[in-house]
Point group: C2
Chain length 176, copies 2
């Protein structure tokens, strides 16, 4: 039976919004660990994990409020750092996959996460898309929107949303 093509699970992962926190967001890590523990299990040759990280262009430099951008080169440096941070994020997951022994691929795209995730699903045709979620209540959701809800409705493949555990929520639940 395992001669069939492996099951391709796409995971949309993002960085933590918490300063000084290790790179992956809590909900990205929760979604990844769920997929490994509950789906892949010991069957590492039956699955391929596909990590997509979408960088939002508008948030470029958000963490660099203290910096002064006085020349085009300053922006170039910033974008370079952005790219490096994205690579660090993917490195975390690729490294975990290597430890576990499950094959993986990882890539970065720029754009609106909801649109990019759905267009990448159309391009890559995963068997399952796993997205993390902060598990916000309806009141908080109105203000922040949720990528997971959009994907559940619009992605062209089965989607499972993994909610962050309540005990792992940071002080401000909008953080992740």
């Amino acid at each position: 039976m395992e001669t069939e093509a492996p099951t391709r699970i796409m995971l949309a992962v993002n960085e933590s919004s918490i300063k000084g926190y290790p790179h992956p967001s809590i909900s990205s890590r929760t979604a990844f660990e769920w997929a490994v523990k509950k789906i892949v299990r010991s069957n590492t040759s039956g699955f391929v994990l596909l990590f997509l990280h979408v960088q939002i262009p508008d948030e470029d430099g958000f963490d660099d409020m203290d910096s002064i951008y006085a020349s085009p080169d300053d922006f170039k440096g910033m974008k370079e750092r952005d790219k490096i941070r994205g690579l660090h994020l993917l490195e975390y997951f690729v490294h975990r996959c290597d430890e576990i022994g499950v094959p993986c691929e990882a890539w970065i795209k720029k754009g609106d996460p909801t649109e990019v995730i759905c267009s990448e699903v159309k391009r890559v045709h995963p068997d399952l898309l796993v997205v993390g979620s902060r598990g916000l209540g309806p009141f908080q959701r109105v203000f922040v929107g949720t990528v997971s809800e959009f994907c559940v409705k619009h992605a062209d493949c089965p989607v499972v949303t993994i909610r962050r555990k309540a005990e792992e929520a940071p002080q401000d639940p909008v953080d992740d």
Copy 2:
């Protein structure tokens, strides 16, 4: 790693609405075959499939429009037949699991499918709930409602919706 407790996947299954059709609905079969092919794969000892069939009390006798209910015994016979049909439905899935070699459990509940599925999730704590869907467009959805959408929003565990393949849709897409 496989010494961990098996992953428990709950599948909400229902009967076909098409007369003369074999018992399981097209979308129930599609969801089941997806779970086996894409998630369980060859790792049959790593999973337990939990089949829940919810019978809707209001639809009792819907197929028996030609029958005349003249005494309480007529209704008793009808309910008995309903129970037998539910058992046949579950028998189909239990038999398939036996062929594949994956452990399973199956049970019937009466009530509103959305409420019963969500309360059974609370009681049974599956790791994943798999629900089939007819993949109706927004226009048709307004009239028929969809159990899958409700579960995605309200079930207390990760939920994945498996849409029926377009080529398997019957003449009337509301049928299943």
